[in-house]
Protein backbone atom coordinates (compact mmCIF):
# COMPACT_ATOMS: atom_id res chain seq x y z
CA UNK A 1 0.00 0.00 0.00
CA UNK A 2 1.35 3.44 -0.72
CA UNK A 3 2.48 5.58 2.15
CA UNK A 4 -0.47 7.98 2.14
CA UNK A 5 -2.96 5.11 2.29
CA UNK A 6 -0.95 3.62 5.12
CA UNK A 7 -1.11 6.93 6.96
CA UNK A 8 -4.86 7.14 6.44
CA UNK A 9 -5.23 3.57 7.63
CA UNK A 10 -3.17 4.38 10.72
CA UNK A 11 -5.39 7.37 11.52
CA UNK A 12 -8.42 5.11 11.32
CA UNK A 13 -6.71 2.55 13.54
CA UNK A 14 -6.03 5.23 16.15
CA UNK A 15 -9.66 6.31 15.99
CA UNK A 16 -10.87 2.73 16.39
CA UNK A 17 -8.53 2.10 19.32
CA UNK A 18 -9.65 5.26 21.07
CA UNK A 19 -13.35 4.58 20.85
CA UNK A 20 -12.85 0.95 21.78
CA UNK A 21 -10.84 2.06 24.80
CA UNK A 22 -13.41 4.50 26.06
CA UNK A 23 -16.32 2.24 25.24
CA UNK A 24 -14.83 -0.74 27.05
CA UNK A 25 -13.90 1.29 30.09
CA UNK A 26 -17.33 2.83 30.31
CA UNK A 27 -19.05 -0.51 29.90
CA UNK A 28 -16.96 -2.39 32.42
CA UNK A 29 -16.48 0.26 35.07
CA UNK A 30 -17.74 -0.84 38.51
CA UNK A 31 -20.32 1.41 40.21
CA UNK A 32 -19.00 4.20 42.44
CA UNK A 33 -20.44 6.03 45.44
CA UNK A 34 -21.87 9.41 44.43
CA UNK A 35 -23.19 10.85 47.67
CA UNK A 36 -22.75 10.03 51.37
CA UNK A 37 -26.52 9.48 51.66
CA UNK A 38 -26.29 6.22 49.78
CA UNK A 39 -24.48 3.10 50.91
CA UNK A 40 -21.32 1.86 49.24
CA UNK A 41 -22.05 -0.21 46.15
CA UNK A 42 -21.25 -3.89 46.38
CA UNK A 43 -17.75 -4.34 45.05
CA UNK A 44 -17.41 -7.80 43.58
CA UNK A 45 -13.94 -9.17 43.74
CA UNK A 46 -13.42 -11.71 41.04
CA UNK A 47 -11.48 -12.33 37.88
CA UNK A 48 -13.38 -9.57 36.16
CA UNK A 49 -12.15 -6.84 38.48
CA UNK A 50 -8.59 -7.97 37.93
CA UNK A 51 -9.11 -7.78 34.21
CA UNK A 52 -10.73 -4.41 34.53
CA UNK A 53 -7.66 -3.09 36.31
CA UNK A 54 -5.37 -4.40 33.55
CA UNK A 55 -7.39 -3.21 30.59
CA UNK A 56 -6.65 0.53 30.75
CA UNK A 57 -2.93 -0.19 30.78
CA UNK A 58 -3.09 -2.52 27.80
CA UNK A 59 -5.38 -0.33 25.78
CA UNK A 60 -3.50 2.87 26.45
CA UNK A 61 -0.26 1.08 25.55
CA UNK A 62 -1.84 0.04 22.26
CA UNK A 63 -2.99 3.61 21.63
CA UNK A 64 0.44 5.06 22.27
CA UNK A 65 1.99 2.37 20.09
CA UNK A 66 -0.36 3.29 17.25
CA UNK A 67 0.53 6.96 17.63
CA UNK A 68 4.24 6.14 17.49
CA UNK A 69 3.65 4.09 14.36
CA UNK A 70 1.94 7.10 12.85
CA UNK A 71 5.01 9.21 13.59
CA UNK A 72 7.24 6.61 11.99
CA UNK A 73 5.09 6.64 8.86
CA UNK A 74 5.13 10.43 8.74
CA UNK A 75 8.91 10.35 8.91
CA UNK A 76 8.91 7.95 5.96
CA UNK A 77 6.99 10.35 3.73
CA UNK A 78 9.10 11.06 0.63
CA UNK A 79 8.17 14.70 0.22
CA UNK A 80 10.53 16.12 -2.37
CA UNK A 81 11.70 19.69 -2.68
CA UNK A 82 9.98 22.60 -4.27
CA UNK A 83 6.31 21.88 -4.42
CA UNK A 84 3.90 22.15 -7.25
CA UNK A 85 5.79 24.48 -9.60
CA UNK A 86 8.99 22.48 -9.41
CA UNK A 87 7.11 19.29 -10.14
CA UNK A 88 5.32 20.81 -13.11
CA UNK A 89 8.59 22.14 -14.46
CA UNK A 90 10.17 18.70 -14.14
CA UNK A 91 7.19 17.13 -15.89
CA UNK A 92 7.55 19.60 -18.79
CA UNK A 93 11.27 18.85 -19.07
CA UNK A 94 10.68 15.11 -19.03
CA UNK A 95 7.95 15.44 -21.64
CA UNK A 96 10.28 17.37 -23.95
CA UNK A 97 13.03 14.79 -23.47
CA UNK A 98 10.56 11.97 -24.04
CA UNK A 99 9.45 13.63 -27.26
CA UNK A 100 13.04 13.97 -28.51
CA UNK A 101 13.96 10.42 -27.59
CA UNK A 102 10.76 9.18 -29.21
CA UNK A 103 11.64 10.90 -32.47
CA UNK A 104 15.10 9.40 -32.47
CA UNK A 105 13.62 5.96 -31.84
CA UNK A 106 11.20 6.52 -34.69
CA UNK A 107 14.07 7.44 -37.03
CA UNK A 108 16.08 4.38 -36.07
CA UNK A 109 13.08 2.14 -36.53
CA UNK A 110 12.35 3.54 -39.97
CA UNK A 111 15.95 3.12 -41.06
CA UNK A 112 15.98 -0.43 -39.74
CA UNK A 113 12.73 -1.26 -41.52
CA UNK A 114 14.06 0.16 -44.74
CA UNK A 115 17.19 -1.96 -44.51
CA UNK A 116 15.05 -4.97 -43.79
CA UNK A 117 13.01 -4.28 -46.91
CA UNK A 118 16.19 -3.92 -48.99
CA UNK A 119 17.60 -7.19 -47.69
CA UNK A 120 14.32 -8.97 -48.39
CA UNK A 121 14.26 -7.59 -51.90
CA UNK A 122 17.83 -8.77 -52.49
CA UNK A 123 16.96 -12.21 -51.16
CA UNK A 124 14.01 -12.38 -53.52
CA UNK A 125 16.21 -11.47 -56.44
CA UNK A 126 18.88 -13.96 -55.45
CA UNK A 127 16.26 -16.67 -55.07
CA UNK A 128 14.82 -15.82 -58.50
CA UNK A 129 18.28 -15.94 -60.03
CA UNK A 130 18.95 -19.29 -58.46
CA UNK A 131 15.68 -20.62 -59.83
CA UNK A 132 16.38 -19.19 -63.28
CA UNK A 133 19.91 -20.58 -63.44
CA UNK A 134 18.74 -24.01 -62.47
CA UNK A 135 18.82 -26.25 -65.53
CA UNK A 136 15.46 -27.84 -66.23
CA UNK A 137 15.81 -31.60 -66.01
Amino acid sequence: MDIISQLQEQVNVIAALSFNTFGTLQRDAPPIRLSPNYPEPAASLSDETINIAEQPKLMSAALVQAAKQFDVLVAALPLSEGGEEAQLKRIAELEAENEAVGEELQKQLEAAEQELRQVQELFNQAADNCLNLKKPE
Partner: protein, 196 residues
Protein backbone atom coordinates in the same frame (compact mmCIF):
# COMPACT_ATOMS: atom_id res chain seq x y z
CA UNK B 1 -43.67 -16.88 -18.38
CA UNK B 2 -42.51 -13.27 -18.48
CA UNK B 3 -44.26 -11.29 -15.78
CA UNK B 4 -42.08 -8.19 -16.11
CA UNK B 5 -42.07 -5.87 -19.12
CA UNK B 6 -39.61 -6.66 -21.89
CA UNK B 7 -36.51 -4.49 -22.33
CA UNK B 8 -36.92 -1.30 -24.33
CA UNK B 9 -35.67 -1.50 -27.93
CA UNK B 10 -32.15 -0.20 -28.68
CA UNK B 11 -31.99 3.42 -29.89
CA UNK B 12 -32.61 3.73 -33.63
CA UNK B 13 -29.20 5.33 -34.37
CA UNK B 14 -27.84 2.06 -35.67
CA UNK B 15 -29.27 2.83 -39.12
CA UNK B 16 -26.84 5.73 -39.48
CA UNK B 17 -23.87 3.37 -39.27
CA UNK B 18 -24.95 1.02 -42.03
CA UNK B 19 -22.09 1.96 -44.37
CA UNK B 20 -19.46 2.37 -41.68
CA UNK B 21 -17.24 -0.45 -42.90
CA UNK B 22 -17.00 0.94 -46.39
CA UNK B 23 -16.95 4.63 -45.61
CA UNK B 24 -16.17 5.56 -42.00
CA UNK B 25 -16.92 9.23 -42.66
CA UNK B 26 -20.56 8.65 -43.61
CA UNK B 27 -21.57 7.99 -40.00
CA UNK B 28 -21.89 10.79 -37.39
CA UNK B 29 -18.93 11.56 -35.12
CA UNK B 30 -19.13 10.52 -31.43
CA UNK B 31 -20.28 13.36 -29.13
CA UNK B 32 -17.45 15.47 -27.64
CA UNK B 33 -16.47 14.92 -23.98
CA UNK B 34 -18.60 16.75 -21.41
CA UNK B 35 -17.12 19.90 -19.93
CA UNK B 36 -18.13 21.81 -16.87
CA UNK B 37 -21.15 20.58 -14.94
CA UNK B 38 -23.57 17.94 -16.10
CA UNK B 39 -26.81 16.56 -14.69
CA UNK B 40 -27.05 12.84 -13.97
CA UNK B 41 -30.20 11.17 -12.58
CA UNK B 42 -31.39 14.48 -11.21
CA UNK B 43 -28.17 15.46 -9.47
CA UNK B 44 -25.56 17.86 -10.84
CA UNK B 45 -22.00 16.72 -11.03
CA UNK B 46 -18.91 18.62 -12.02
CA UNK B 47 -16.04 17.39 -14.14
CA UNK B 48 -13.42 19.22 -12.09
CA UNK B 49 -12.08 16.97 -9.36
CA UNK B 50 -10.80 19.20 -6.63
CA UNK B 51 -10.60 18.56 -2.89
CA UNK B 52 -13.02 20.94 -1.18
CA UNK B 53 -11.25 22.98 1.46
CA UNK B 54 -12.15 22.52 5.08
CA UNK B 55 -13.91 25.89 5.28
CA UNK B 56 -16.23 24.80 2.49
CA UNK B 57 -17.24 21.82 4.57
CA UNK B 58 -17.78 24.00 7.61
CA UNK B 59 -14.90 22.52 9.60
CA UNK B 60 -12.37 24.67 11.43
CA UNK B 61 -8.86 24.38 10.04
CA UNK B 62 -6.16 23.83 12.68
CA UNK B 63 -2.97 24.03 10.63
CA UNK B 64 -1.66 27.17 8.93
CA UNK B 65 -2.74 27.94 5.40
CA UNK B 66 -0.19 28.00 2.62
CA UNK B 67 1.62 24.81 3.48
CA UNK B 68 4.44 24.28 1.02
CA UNK B 69 5.89 20.83 0.64
CA UNK B 70 9.54 20.45 1.56
CA UNK B 71 10.16 23.84 3.17
CA UNK B 72 10.85 23.90 6.89
CA UNK B 73 12.01 27.25 8.07
CA UNK B 74 11.00 27.69 11.71
CA UNK B 75 9.75 25.31 14.34
CA UNK B 76 6.26 26.17 15.37
CA UNK B 77 4.63 24.65 18.42
CA UNK B 78 0.92 24.34 17.71
CA UNK B 79 -1.02 25.46 20.73
CA UNK B 80 -4.69 24.91 20.35
CA UNK B 81 -6.62 27.71 21.99
CA UNK B 82 -10.33 27.01 21.83
CA UNK B 83 -11.22 30.47 20.54
CA UNK B 84 -8.52 30.61 17.89
CA UNK B 85 -9.94 31.46 14.50
CA UNK B 86 -8.62 30.39 11.15
CA UNK B 87 -4.91 31.11 10.93
CA UNK B 88 -4.19 32.89 7.69
CA UNK B 89 -0.45 32.91 8.16
CA UNK B 90 0.70 32.07 4.68
CA UNK B 91 4.13 33.40 5.60
CA UNK B 92 4.73 30.41 7.83
CA UNK B 93 5.96 27.82 5.39
CA UNK B 94 5.57 24.61 7.29
CA UNK B 95 6.07 21.25 5.83
CA UNK B 96 3.44 18.61 6.01
CA UNK B 97 5.41 16.30 8.27
CA UNK B 98 5.60 18.75 11.16
CA UNK B 99 1.93 19.54 10.87
CA UNK B 100 0.99 15.87 10.89
CA UNK B 101 3.14 15.20 13.92
CA UNK B 102 1.74 18.23 15.73
CA UNK B 103 -1.81 17.10 15.03
CA UNK B 104 -0.96 13.64 16.31
CA UNK B 105 0.33 15.05 19.60
CA UNK B 106 -2.74 17.22 19.98
CA UNK B 107 -4.91 14.21 19.39
CA UNK B 108 -3.23 12.32 22.18
CA UNK B 109 -3.61 15.30 24.52
CA UNK B 110 -7.28 15.53 23.72
CA UNK B 111 -7.80 11.86 24.40
CA UNK B 112 -6.20 12.32 27.81
CA UNK B 113 -8.41 15.33 28.44
CA UNK B 114 -11.46 13.29 27.54
CA UNK B 115 -10.44 10.62 30.03
CA UNK B 116 -10.05 13.26 32.73
CA UNK B 117 -13.38 14.86 31.93
CA UNK B 118 -15.13 11.53 32.08
CA UNK B 119 -13.73 10.94 35.54
CA UNK B 120 -14.48 14.35 37.00
CA UNK B 121 -17.26 16.06 35.05
CA UNK B 122 -18.92 13.36 32.94
CA UNK B 123 -21.65 15.59 31.57
CA UNK B 124 -19.18 17.77 29.65
CA UNK B 125 -17.93 15.07 27.33
CA UNK B 126 -19.60 16.49 24.24
CA UNK B 127 -17.22 19.40 23.75
CA UNK B 128 -14.17 17.19 24.06
CA UNK B 129 -15.56 14.60 21.66
CA UNK B 130 -16.26 17.39 19.19
CA UNK B 131 -12.65 18.60 19.46
CA UNK B 132 -11.34 15.11 18.87
CA UNK B 133 -13.48 14.66 15.77
CA UNK B 134 -12.28 18.06 14.54
CA UNK B 135 -8.69 16.90 14.84
CA UNK B 136 -9.47 13.73 12.93
CA UNK B 137 -11.13 15.68 10.15
CA UNK B 138 -8.09 17.94 9.90
CA UNK B 139 -5.78 14.94 9.76
CA UNK B 140 -7.70 13.31 6.95
CA UNK B 141 -7.97 16.55 5.02
CA UNK B 142 -4.21 17.06 5.24
CA UNK B 143 -3.57 13.55 3.99
CA UNK B 144 -6.03 13.99 1.14
CA UNK B 145 -4.36 17.20 0.09
CA UNK B 146 -1.12 15.26 -0.34
CA UNK B 147 -2.68 13.18 -3.09
CA UNK B 148 -2.13 15.63 -6.01
CA UNK B 149 1.54 15.80 -5.06
CA UNK B 150 1.68 12.02 -5.09
CA UNK B 151 -0.01 11.93 -8.50
CA UNK B 152 2.54 14.33 -9.97
CA UNK B 153 5.40 12.35 -8.46
CA UNK B 154 4.00 9.16 -9.97
CA UNK B 155 3.75 10.87 -13.34
CA UNK B 156 7.37 11.99 -13.12
CA UNK B 157 8.42 8.45 -12.25
CA UNK B 158 6.47 6.97 -15.17
CA UNK B 159 7.98 9.49 -17.62
CA UNK B 160 11.49 8.69 -16.41
CA UNK B 161 10.88 4.96 -16.82
CA UNK B 162 9.51 5.51 -20.31
CA UNK B 163 12.51 7.60 -21.35
CA UNK B 164 14.82 4.91 -20.03
CA UNK B 165 12.97 2.18 -21.94
CA UNK B 166 13.04 4.20 -25.16
CA UNK B 167 16.78 4.81 -24.86
CA UNK B 168 17.30 1.12 -24.28
CA UNK B 169 15.25 0.33 -27.37
CA UNK B 170 17.32 2.78 -29.44
CA UNK B 171 20.51 1.08 -28.29
CA UNK B 172 19.12 -2.34 -29.16
CA UNK B 173 18.01 -1.27 -32.63
CA UNK B 174 21.39 0.35 -33.34
CA UNK B 175 23.25 -2.73 -32.24
CA UNK B 176 21.11 -5.03 -34.37
CA UNK B 177 21.51 -2.84 -37.41
CA UNK B 178 25.27 -2.84 -37.04
CA UNK B 179 25.21 -6.59 -36.58
CA UNK B 180 23.15 -6.99 -39.75
CA UNK B 181 25.51 -4.73 -41.71
CA UNK B 182 28.46 -6.73 -40.51
CA UNK B 183 26.89 -10.02 -41.51
CA UNK B 184 26.04 -8.66 -44.95
CA UNK B 185 29.62 -7.49 -45.49
CA UNK B 186 30.94 -10.85 -44.39
CA UNK B 187 28.60 -12.74 -46.67
CA UNK B 188 29.59 -10.41 -49.51
CA UNK B 189 33.23 -11.18 -48.90
CA UNK B 190 32.52 -14.89 -48.79
CA UNK B 191 30.59 -14.73 -52.02
CA UNK B 192 33.29 -12.70 -53.73
CA UNK B 193 35.88 -15.13 -52.44
CA UNK B 194 33.96 -18.04 -53.94
CA UNK B 195 33.32 -16.42 -57.26
CA UNK B 196 36.93 -15.32 -57.84
Amino acid sequence: MATSASYPPPPPYYRLYGDYLRDPKSAPEPPPPVQGTYPLFGATYTTEDVLPSLEDQGVRQLYPKGLIIGWSKERLVLTLLPLLLLRLSALLRKDYKKELRALNRELQLHLLELADVLVERPSQYARRVEDISLIFKNLHHLLNSLRPHQARATLIHILELQIQRRKQAIEDVKRRREEAQRLLKESLQILDGHSV
